[in-house]
């Protein structure tokens, strides 16, 4: 209709023109963004379409079977063996470890942000420990340390008790216990609380606390009446992330839970898809509805907290505050921080190293026969292990690069287009981060493994899954990188005669590189460590490290898995430090003064 009117208008206008000129297509209004804009929009649309397709397939499977509406899935889910126990276990574990994590994480954040117990080098590292050392490897490391019979720490404790004449056959500590599983969950949840509360503390005005102290409030009163209320939104966000993480956390319960006979939701879903024959994807999807309900509830409450606490964001940024002197407590504060690093990273890493060096897991280490070559021999001589290493490494390199490039192109598109369509695409592309990796993994199994795509057990499905799964995080990095680049810089290029593609290659991309590299490093580490989705999607044909470590653990090849975990940890450390150094070096260049570094 509109088109017709416009065409008529054109004809009328051209009627009095001497000769209608043939306008080149590129001058038409609809095409003013150029080919690059078309391509960017298409890329965004394709990835958004994949997400929509996944979600639609999942939703359809819940209500339809072979084209007929039925509620069979729900019936089977409700009849699922021990369903209520599984749900109860999950809720109890996530809730109790969440409370612990919030308390400890906030304490850490407060120590680091507001007091003289701050340890500078730990600030950036503290949230990274749980990423650098794969959670599944960390959990197994703790099994090596605290298994009732062969745990290294238990062995030492028994020896110590022996001196006092107390003889015990096993224990005294046991990782295969409720405290064990809850504490391990807590360890991996603390970074979320630490990061969120640190940010909250940094953005809130410290003079509010200073005013309270000057008005005569004690340290504890200030904390209770001022700091915590102000931090409510941050704590809410932390809780949301923890719930998001906790309900789909798989590494710890699969390692500890089996032995303890405690079943949780995430493990059940994965088991139905991967470790059951024939696999029961429908019930797995049905069970994942509980996951989505938990996440939805968390989002709802987070939204309410944010709305109720708008005042909390008031206050300037970046004020320097006199750090609180803790006196004698300072040493204790720092000790706490170090202990966390030792428990989550150093001790399990040492246990893994010891097992790898020794060649097998035993409590009676023959110290003279430790062989350094075992560190890499274990993994490289095992064909499945070395294949998984190669797979994970190449998937992470390619996947992180694709995701980062797509994200860079898309965030520039978003900045320039501003259309409702672009904003919609952005919302859809970011959806996978709101759902859980388990849900996305299930979606891939359902939507891509079978017909019409038949991508089951292929490298391609894993790659696509990683890109879709981590695109939200990639766009967050890319958005930040794009925001660093003044819009006038790309406009100047456009006016200078360069079209979108050229402007992207020569202006926007080079200027975004520092931010993109930092984002790439994180994506790489996340992708090598991905377990939830890959375990369902990849199967045994294309093994990835996390899955391989789990399988080796279940068959008892402890030295091989230790070696594999150590090699991956080393790679992660190298990649993250390289990205960090690189970002620092050229990042400084882009700000002007040392622009010469750009030549490199």
């Amino acid at each position: 209709m509109k088109e017709a009117q416009r065409a008529q208008g054109q004809e009328r206008d051209r009627g009095d023109a001497p000769a209608p000129t043939l306008r080149p297509f590129v001058n038409l209004r609809a095409f003013r963004g150029g080919w690059f804009n078309v391509i960017s929009g298409t890329i965004g649309t394709v990835f958004a379409a994949i997400v929509v397709y996944l979600v639609v397939r999942l939703a359809l499977r819940l209500f339809f079977n072979d084209g007929h509406f039925d509620t069979d899935v729900f019936a089977r889910v409700l009849a699922y063996r021990d369903l209520s126990t599984i749900l109860l276990n999950t809720v109890v574990i996530v809730t109790s470890s969440m409370i612990l994590a919030l308390v400890i994480g906030s304490l850490f954040a407060w120590l680091m942000e507001r007091t003289d117990a701050r340890i500078d080098w730990l600030a950036g590292l503290l949230p990274m420990f749980s990423m650098i050392l794969l959670p599944i490897a960390g959990a197994i490391g703790w099994v090596f340390l605290l298994a009732p019979q062969a745990g290294f720490i238990n062995g030492m404790l028994r020896a110590a008790l022996g001196w006092f004449g107390i003889a015990v056959a096993s224990g005294p500590l046991n990782i295969y216990s409720w405290p064990g599983i809850i504490l391990l969950y807590t360890a991996y949840m603390i970074p979320f609380a630490f990061l969120m509360v640190s940010t909250g503390l940094r953005n809130s005005d410290p003079s509010m606390e200073e005013a309270a102290r000057i008005s005569g409030a004690s340290l504890f009163q200030t904390l209770w009446q001022i700091t915590i209320p102000v931090l409510r939104p941050s704590l809410g966000a932390a809780a949301l992330y923890i719930i998001w993480f906790g309900f789909s956390f798989f590494s710890v319960p699969v390692v500890i839970g089996n032995e303890l006979r405690v079943r949780v939701l995430a493990v059940e879903i994965v088991r139905l898809v991967t470790f059951t024959y024939p696999s029961d994807v429908a019930v797995a999807i049905g069970l994942s509805v509980f996951l989505v309900i938990a996440l939805g509830t968390a989002w709802y409450f987070q939204g309410r907290i944010l709305r109720a606490n708008r005042h909390a964001s008031i206050g300037g940024k970046g004020q320097r505050t006199a750090t609180l002197r803790l006196g004698k407590l300072r040493v204790w504060g720092q000790t706490l921080l170090i202990v966390y690093a030792v428990l989550t990273f150093v001790l399990p890493l040492l246990a893994l190293i010891l097992v790898a060096l020794n060649g097998y897991w035993t409590i009676d280490i023959s110290w003279g026969e430790l062989n350094v070559a075992n560190l890499w021999m274990g993994a490289t001589e095992n064909r499945a292990a070395s294949r998984s290493l190669v797979n994970s490494f190449s998937l992470a390199v390619i996947g992180a690069t694709i995701a980062m490039l797509v994200a860079a192109i898309f965030s520039l598109y978003l900045r320039h287009a501003h259309s409702r369509w672009a904003l919609t695409l952005d919302g859809i592309i970011k959806l996978p981060s709101a759902l859980s990796a388990i849900v996305i993994g299930l979606g891939f199994v359902l939507a891509f493994a079978g017909p019409p795509f038949q991508l089951g057990n292929t490298y391609a499905i894993l790659l696509l899954c990683y890109v879709v799964l981590f695109l939200p995080q990639a766009t967050i990095s890319a958005d930040a990188a794009a925001a660093q680049v003044d819009k006038q810089l790309s406009e100047a290029s456009w006016v200078s005669g360069a079209r979108g593609g050229m402007t992207f290659l020569r202006i926007s991309l080079p200027l975004m590189v520092p931010g993109l590299i930092a984002g790439w490093g994180l994506l790489f580490v996340w992708m090598t460590g991905e377990l939830n989705a890959s375990i369902m999607v990849s199967g045994t044909r294309v093994p990835v490290i996390g899955f391989q470590i789990l399988q080796i653990f279940q068959t008892g090849g402890f030295a091989v898995l230790a070696s594999l975990a150590l090699i991956l940890t080393a790679i992660n450390v190298v990649v993250l430090s390289a990205a960090h150094v690189f970002e620092r070096r050229i990042g400084r260049g882009s700000s002007g003064r040392n622009a010469a570094l750009f030549r490199a």
């Binding site: 416009r6 590129v26 001058n27 406009e491 100047a492 006016v495 200078s496 200027l511 002007g592």
Partner: protein
């Protein structure tokens, strides 16, 4: 600088000679641009602007922030799309709502100097200037020659190997100008380019831009909110008010004969009193009844009628202070002096006159000045009391 020299220089700077021929460099017809508010209402940012810029002409768009001047400039560049109208650059239609044409900025062959200069920090100065030619796939040797030529003209030939981060504000400004010259076919757009440099450099650069413009002969659209800058640079000034051209004229006419009350109040300082026209006299004079009593002045707008509500505006430097004994017998008020402000070359006396509120009178410093505290009378000569529709 003779004509021939200017022409050969221009030929070496621009890619084609379009910009140095005759005809209009830019023609705007009925340009409209709306912004949508959150509640859905459409607010005009540019509200029907017609403008012609001749080859080699320097036109300044002047107005307060929010008057639509930058939006208009961005529409010309193609960085934003108008909703109505026609934009013709060097005789080529680049936007037309009727013909559904809206070419992208890269096809408009313009040069633009941005407020932040927008030099690319990761490229050397040479590459920054050469970029417009590189993307047009001009042969290497030619690029080198033309870039060095322009850089010499602008006075930055020594900086070719530097990075923008190593330059001063003034140098960056020159490089940005060089890049705009290279990219353009003879029409340059300036988006408040001098608002980021300090006063001293600003004056120097203003002078240089004008000198180069006359030497090379490009046409320019220059956006600013600074009236001194506008006065100094422009062949013609377009004063914008709420998306419309309030007056388009030479700087002198804009100053001496503002077209309406808005322009009169926006340009320069103004003493103002409100009233109603009582009688119309010969030669465009009129008498206005005001709070300050009857004032005789000249009509600023032709179509004013008896009984219309008007404002009488008198510039401080056109007002006089008389001693109590002398009198002209017309447009005089008792003046109670409050302060005397020394403003460089001038001195401004501020005081109260009945009906005028705080009135200002400006003297050049060497002129004889009244002694503080003596009783005086404010006098506005009839020809400088200009009457405008309220």
């Amino acid at each position: 600088m003779n004509m021939l020299d200017a022409e050969t220089r221009a030929a070496r700077v621009f890619s084609s000679n379009k910009g140095t021929g005759t005809g209009d460099a830019l023609k705007l017809r009925g340009i409209q641009k709306y912004f949508k508010r959150r509640d859905g209402t459409r607010v005009p940012a540019v509200d029907g602007i017609d403008l012609c810029v001749a080859q080699g002409e320097f036109v300044v768009l002047l107005g307060p922030s929010g008057c639509g001047k930058t939006t208009l400039l961005r529409c010309i560049a193609g960085l934003e799309s108008p909703d109505q109208g026609v934009i013709t650059i060097h005789g080529e239609e680049h936007y037309s709502s009727a013909d559904n044409v809206d070419s992208s900025p890269d096809r408009r062959k313009l040069g633009m100097v941005f407020q932040s200069y927008a030099l690319w920090p990761h490229m050397k100065v040479f590459t920054n200037v050469a970029y417009p030619l590189q993307v047009k796939k001009v042969p290497r040797a030619e690029i080198r020659e033309r870039v060095m030529n322009v850089m010499r003209t602008v006075g930055v030939e020594d900086l070719a190997e530097q990075f923008p981060g190593q330059l001063s504000g003034g140098q960056q400004q020159r490089v940005a100008l060089a890049r705009a010259l290279v990219s353009s076919d003879g029409l340059l757009l300036f988006d408040e380019p001098l608002s980021n440099v300090d006063a001293k450099v600003r004056e120097q650069l203003r002078f240089e831009i004008r000198r180069m413009q006359q030497q090379i002969g490009f046409a320019a659209i220059y956006v600013t909110h600074d009236q001194d800058e506008a006065m100094e640079l422009a062949d013609r000034i377009a004063v914008l008010n709420k998306g419309r051209v309030a007056q388009l004229d030479s700087p002198q006419n804009i100053y001496d004969k503002p077209a309406d009350r808005y322009v009169a109040k926006f340009i320069g300082a103004a003493n103002e009193v409100m009233g109603r026209i009582v009688t119309l006299g010969p030669g465009g004079s009129a008498t206005v009844s005001t709070d300050a009593g009857p004032i005789t002045g000249v009509l600023g707008q032709d179509d004013l009628a008896v009984g219309e509500e008007v404002s009488v505006i008198a510039r401080p430097e056109k007002c006089r202070l008389l001693s109590a004994t002398t009198s002209t017998g017309i447009n005089e008020w008792a003046f109670e002096q409050a302060t005397s402000l020394f403003v460089g070359a001038n001195r401004r006396v501020v005081g109260r006159a009945v009906g005028w509120g705080n009135a200002q009178v400006q003297f050049s410093s060497r002129e004889e000045q009244p002694v503080l505290g003596t009783s005086m009378r404010l006098h506005v000569p009839v020809e400088f009391a200009r009457i405008y529709r309220k």
